[in-house]
Symmetry: C2
Subunit: 426 residues, 2 copies
């Protein structure tokens, strides 16, 4: 069964803000077994929204999900366009009007700017819904609807608000409505699984998959998608329950072939694994960063609760800072250069000691665009992780621009920490 998504909103269409709903809905739909054929971004013009719906219907979608255009103002017209598309009149739902009014009253207590007449008008507009639609209770102030065609064929349309924090819970609510339950009963129950690999080029993985197939490993019932993300390869697989043994056999074969490179057979991220390893060991971590300028510390601390195992870090761009705050011996910098395995190791040791942490990470490299030399071109990065006097260090040459080099360096560093905590050392 095919499904399509229509994301409305002039700000999204014009690229002023990035759409998060299209990819999110797509992933959910795919997980439910739908074949997502088109995600369309359109502006606020009713004729363009209608054209998108007609196109998706003509292309045979069983389900269409829209996001945005449910606000109280005159240019928020998605529900009305969907009602026309489905051949349904718009009617006032008085009980819904009352429930939205209660929400608006609570908001008004927090803000003195809203005047009563404008509120009443907004309230009424948002309570007018397609006849016979299943109403999705508002998470913000805008209700969503699930609309079936009034007669004959055509897709079921789920109409959701634009803000992701409203859309996401309301999508869950939509799944429980009778029209969607009926559709889902026909879609089969697919699951998405993920494995992650680090340290292998995509072309080599492609060859491995071909060779596994040639060696008789079955991909029957498995729909694989591979992609590069943050310097890692993710293999997402869509499967039905019956293909479970085939999936297990496939992952086992891949693991036998690539060993530790397939570091995450259960789809957990390296961030999650490092957090779990640090917590399990009762360890704390400290960072000494040069070219990444704080990105590794920021990545470690973007997890809630990270204060339990992140002691802190030092961003030492200047050599003087490496010495003053991380105790890197100036003679070491003189002898090997600021970008060297020796300096990375000294930064790791210094970070752990200065911040009183049990694990230290040091990063020094050339993110570019300037600063490269023939021996140490842009992309050269030295990373070191240390605990208890043990070290694990790597010097890598990363491709891409400044942003990519900086981001991939944080991935390299997290994998070194993971392997160090799993007992490896140089």
């Amino acid at each position: 069964m095919r499904a399509g998504v229509v994301v409305t909103g002039t700000e999204v269409l014009t690229g002023v803000i990035a759409d998060r709903n299209g990819p999110w809905l797509s992933e959910r739909l795919r997980g439910l077994g739908f074949d997502v054929a088109h995600v369309m971004v359109v502006g606020d013009r009713p004729a363009d929204i209608r054209a998108a719906l007609d196109f998706l219907a003509a292309e045979g979608m069983a389900l269409v999900v829209t996001s945005g255009g449910l606000g109280p103002t005159a240019d928020d017209l998605t529900t009305e366009v969907v009602a026309q598309f489905a051949g349904r009149a718009m009617v006032l739902d008085e009980a819904l009007e009352g429930r939205i009014w209660e929400i608006l009253q609570r908001l008004r207590r927090r803000s003195r700017q809203l005047d009563e007449a404008a509120l009443r008008a907004a309230n009424r507009k948002q309570a007018i819904v397609p006849e016979g639609a299943a109403v999705l209770e508002p998470v913000g102030t805008a209700p969503g609807v699930v609309v079936e065609p009034a007669s004959g064929g055509g897709p079921v349309v789920v109409v959701l608000p634009g803000p992701p924090r409203e859309l996401q819970p309301m999508w869950e609510a939509a799944l429980a409505t009778p029209p969607l339950r009926a559709l889902l009963a026909g879609a089969g129950t697919y699951e998405q699984r993920m494995v992650r690999m680090f340290g292998i080029p995509e072309s080599e993985l492609a060859r491995s998959l071909e060779e596994l197939a040639a060696a008789g490993v079955s991909f029957e019932g498995l729909e694989l998608t591979t992609c590069l993300r943050r310097g890692e390869i993710e293999i997402a697989t869509l499967l039905q329950h019956a293909a479970e043994p085939a999936y297990e056999a496939f992952v086992a074969a891949l693991r036998e072939r690539h060993g530790e490179i397939l570091y995450s057979p259960d789809g957990s991220t390296v961030d999650e694994q490092v957090a779990a390893l640090l917590s399990a060991a009762g360890a704390t971590i400290a960072t000494g960063e040069s070219c990444t300028g704080g990105l590794l510390a920021a990545r470690l601390t973007d997890r809630a609760g990270s204060s339990a195992y992140v002691a802190g870090g030092v961003v030492a761009y200047a050599n003087a800072a490496k010495t003053a705050l991380l105790d890197v011996d100036p003679a070491l910098i003189e002898a090997h250069g600021a970008v060297s395995a020796e300096v990375a190791a000294a930064m790791a040791t210094g970070a752990a000691r200065r911040l009183g942490a049990s694990v230290g990470v040091g990063i020094t490299g050339i993110a570019g665009p300037g600063g490269g030399t023939p021996e140490k071109p842009v992309g050269t990065v030295c990373v070191d992780a240390t605990t208890d006097g043990r070290h694990l260090g790597r010097t890598v040459l990363l491709p891409g621009d400044r942003e990519m080099i900086r981001e991939r360096t944080t991935t390299v560093a997290l994998h070194l920490v993971r392997r160090l905590l799993q007992g490896e050392a140089d």
Copy 2:
């Protein structure tokens, strides 16, 4: 004139990776005066790509831009589908084959994994282009094409590769091709201008715009879009040359009304302004961060050349680290709490002193989800900027989740630094 974008790629469609090309192309097209009506994301299936092209043609687009599907493998079919759509045969361009071969030879010298036969096949496939198309030289290995309909009506189609670092320069090259020059001559010359504001809610700006209109300020010929980004408001305006005086008058009126809140009448970002102010003053900056965990340092150093004015920073999550690395007096933390204006000021001073910088920034706050109290709820953040013994500090209560709070805090901090360097102090 209307334009549409078709983004191809199963990974993008399924939400595994986020599309960056749709918004980027949309913004460029809009800046050239096109009315971008639809951005469509489709998978790699030829029938779905063709359906999208047919839909955009039926909707009256004068120009369609595609991204992705130009690789060497069998499922990279965008160029072929576009050729069929435009009624053109696919022909081998031997000169192009030779030029791509040279690129592949260079790549092969860097990697021993590629075998000759596979390379030759890939080379030939990528050199087969629609008859009569303008070829866009590859930035990676895949050439793009600009294709006009073989006869009669239909849009001009620009076919670009998926990786943004290839697509973006090749789009610039496409603009210089005869078919696009002819189209652009008809599109009128629009320009996009931007002003940025910090410290005003969107609802208040909306009221201001209404009141300016009521007071006789003309918006004739100006197409305004406002949006919230990273805690700031951006007002993007599309205008033709004749509306220049109206635009100037509008910005002047807005500035008169909101003064310093409209901090960027020329669209420059606060990041750019801080970098310019630091460079002009020959100053260096150091950061002392708690809840942002290195994000401010990472944001300051994501600019190329930032090593000239960024000394470094300290991420001091633990109180002990605030004392050991930033010289924050434990008694100060005891008296006022770790999240306090006093501690933020001490962190700013300590960061500048320890890193030998002339400007220091201190950040301490509660990013959540845990750690909030009735007096200091989640979102409470104290920021301080200092230079030459002068301080500028603010305690703010930021909305949103952990990620939003951390990101907005870096915006608050950059504005404090900007104002400090412009001479303000508490």
